[in-house]
């Protein structure tokens, strides 16, 4: 059984962990680690600033935030990795943003399209090559609805004019071409990449009045934003909303299409799941189109039912009645069975959680639905407002909150807190397992999923039990068991 430490002990742990750093880095890291207790409403770590060099941060870059997260899942557009070959190669088909289509014919998510910069492109510029690349793509893939140009580091440094190329080629091929200035050196993490991607959508899709497919409006039209359909998350979420009687006109951007992106302007409400990566566009929508947005959470029954009711309250009695019926008659009985089976096996187990920009808070309640306690959580690239929101989720025990954790910190926190489960990313997985500590990936769902919605909670419970109670861990000793 994992240990739940009190605030004082947690603060002592943090000091011990920090003692290894050189002075300057220690002073900095100290600001990024806090301990919160239920009821705390002010104490949040410093966030969204540069990582210290050489500390083994887990963060990525703006290209990852733009191509990997936001634009990449849009399936009927081609996203050119504009620059040297590496970025696109490493991010090729690495993210489980599921989609339906015939890849290479009407959908293009998983292949790697790149202008493969060589030395002469660095010296003489890559605009001409980009122009030709777009022409070639349009010829080979006639069903593509549009192109986006995802800039890599050198593009911003050599002064290429991808906006001019975008304008020119867009006219020539008669399709949407979006230049995205998501060079990796911009910002401090994936986060600015989201922002740049949001802005590029604003400037090159909405401000330019790109139209989606004609659809008959209805009073129940909504858009799901910030759900990337990892393992089918967005489909599981969509099902709930449709069963409530609502009409999802846009999935942004998991299994998303250009038409859906454009048609988001027809929604009555924008439902934001991943706040961090889509709030920029949501705020623009509110200002520009007068479409309100609300945040919701489809992880685990407590949050799902609360969110369903919150969403239903925006609509009429018919929807509200249907929602209540769904919860009481269909969903709650189904999920109660899951809790009945798994909670006794997971009660009291502790979790060390470290993910990107939303899940470190959003998933806490789902763990608690299974009787598990999150003793530490942290974000790679969250901002102040995310940490503010996290405080509302700390309702059971003192929790260590860390911003932009380093590999050292994750390893030491694991040693000191001795969690029953570490829930983070692939770079942390084998480090944890080799210490004899069970692990579940919370970016890729460890090749499982979905974890959103009703199907999602069943699978989440099954996986948590599989990891924590797996017999293999009896044969490996964690360092503190040796």
């Amino acid at each position: 059984m994992g240990v739940i430490v009190d605030k004082e002990t947690a603060l002592k742990f943090i000091e011990e962990i920090l003692s290894r750093y050189p002075t300057k880095a220690r002073k900095d890291r100290a600001k990024h680690m806090v301990v919160d207790e239920p009821g705390d409403d002010k104490c949040i770590p410093k966030s969204n600033v540069k990582s210290r060099p050489g500390v083994m941060t887990i963060r990525g870059c703006a290209y990852a935030g733009s191509k990997g997260v936001v634009w990449g899942p849009i399936k009927d557009m081609i996203h050119i990795s504009h620059g040297p070959v590496g970025c696109g190669y490493y991010s090729r088909a690495g993210r489980r943003n599921y989609y339906i289509g015939t890849t290479g014919v009407d959908t293009f998510v998983t292949p790697h399209f790149t202008t493969d910069f060589q030395e002469r492109d660095i010296v003489f510029g890559g605009d001409k090559k980009l122009e030709k690349a777009i022409q070639e793509l349009n010829q080979l893939f006639p069903l593509v609805k549009g192109i986006t140009i995802q800039s890599e580091c050198p593009i911003g440094l050599i002064g290429d004019d991808i906006e001019a190329v975008a304008r020119k080629t867009s006219k020539e091929i008669g399709k949407v071409v979006v230049p995205v200035r998501c060079e990796g050196f911009r910002g401090v993490s994936q986060s600015l990449g989201h922002h740049i991607a949001n802005d590029s959508m604003r400037d090159w899709v909405y401000e330019k009045g790109v139209k989606g497919r004609e659809i008959e409006p209805s009073p129940y039209d909504i858009a799901i934003w910030g759900d990337y359909n990892i393992g089918g998350d967005a489909w599981a979420s969509r099902k709930i909303l449709e069963e409530m009687g609502l009409r999802v006109v846009t999935q942004w951007s998991g299994d998303g299409t250009l038409s859906e992106v454009a048609n988001a302007v027809k929604a009555k409400y924008i439902l934001v799941h991943c706040y961090r990566s889509s709030n920029y566009l949501a705020r623009y929508f509110e200002e520009r189109f007068g479409i309100p947005w609300i945040e919701y959470n489809f992880f685990g029954p407590t949050q799902i039912f609360a969110s369903m009711r919150k969403i239903a309250s925006l609509f009429d009695e018919k929807i509200q009645a249907r929602t209540e019926e769904l919860i009481e008659k269909v969903y709650k009985p189904r999920l109660d069975r899951v809790i009945e089976k798994y909670r006794p096996r997971l009660e009291g187990k502790t979790v060390l959680l470290y993910v990107g920009g939303l899940r470190p808070r959003h998933i806490i309640t789902a763990f608690e639905d299974l009787g598990m306690n999150v003793v530490a959580t942290g974000y790679e690239f969250a901002h102040q407002d995310d940490y503010q929101r996290t405080l509302h989720y700390i309702d059971k025990n003192a929790t260590i909150i860390v911003d932009d954790a380093t590999a050292w910190e994750i390893e030491e926190l694991t040693r000191k807190l001795r969690p029953d489960l570490v829930a983070s990313g692939i770079k942390e997985k084998y480090q944890s397992q080799k210490m004899g500590v069970p692990f579940r990936q919370m970016h890729s769902w460890d090749y499982s999923g979905p974890y959103h919605g009703i199907e999602g909670f069943e699978i989440f419970a099954r996986d948590a039990d599989m990891a924590v109670n797996g017999n293999v861990w009896k044969f490996i000793k964690a360092p503190w068991q040796q």
Binding site: I80, P84, D116, I134, L140, C153, E455, R462
Partner: protein, 247 residues
């Protein structure tokens, strides 16, 4: 395992194949995706199997599709991992390191250490020396390697950072011990591929260690052991070094 069968939990491999989801997804396609339809997809798919398409494909000059190669620093990382207690260090953007580590972890199913000097927009303007210096100090303090093998990302390359002078400055300033080995290689991602990067890093390490042995003698071999680690070793490297690097 009985629990799972009892509840018959289906995950993404099966749960979306039932009639409800099939209908939902079909409806999404028809109503909202502006999908061209099955007929058109079949037509174009057939066209991609024609000679005309083949010719079009081979005429490509500008766009690369699914190239079977990666960039230099990945190869440099693989090379560095073959040396015991060696921490690979990438001078440039931190996103690259996240990608290299992820790629290697997925392949080897092992933890893959590597650090970055985390250069950002201002480093692009002023140069990355400060980042490199602080990076060396932090990395050595936290991870206690015996050697740091350094390479560069394209950002550092395009702005022309000089690793040799930066590293020497770090030693002259006393930021790291003078006898701490920091072999390096310039690994621009727009030249060659990951194979080139591997060779460049190897050359850098061998060159550096030759000079190192000359300066500090091979008696310091306990400080440096080029074989071992969790990854495959350099066959015969130690023998070569003994032959060429000194007694």
């Amino acid at each position: 395992m009985g629990i799972h069968h009892e509840l018959n939990i289906k995950d993404h491999l099966e749960c979306f194949r039932n009639d409800e989801f099939k209908k939902m997804i079909e409806n999404k396609r028809k109503q909202f995706e502006d999908w061209v339809g099955e007929e058109k997809v079949k037509e174009v798919a057939e066209w991609t199997k024609t000679w005309e398409y083949r010719e079009l494909n081979f005429k490509r000059e500008a766009i690369s599709i699914n190239p079977a190669k990666a960039c230099q620093p990945l190869g440099a990382l693989l090379c560095a991992l073959g040396f015991e207690k060696t921490l690979p260090f990438s001078h440039g953007s931190q996103g690259c390191v996240a990608y290299f580590r992820t790629h290697m972890a997925r392949h080897f199913k092992e933890p893959v250490p590597m650090v970055s000097s985390s250069m950002t927009e201002d480093a692009a303007v002023f140069g990355g020396q400060n980042n490199l210096h602080e990076g060396l100090q932090n990395a050595i303090a936290l991870y206690r390697p015996k050697m740091i093998a350094m390479n560069t990302t394209c950002m550092a390359e395009v702005i022309g950072d000089d690793l040799n002078s930066f590293i020497n400055n770090a030693k002259e300033k006393g930021l790291i011990p003078a006898d701490f080995p920091v072999p390096f290689a310039h690994t621009p991602s727009f030249v060659g591929s990951h194979i080139t990067g591997y060779d460049n890093q190897m050359k850098g390490i061998l060159q550096h260690m030759t000079d190192y042995f000359e300066k500090y003698g091979v008696d310091n071999i306990d400080k440096f052991d080029p074989e071992g680690g969790d990854f495959y070793e350099q066959g015969g490297l130690l023998a070569w070094l003994e032959k060429n690097g000194g007694k």
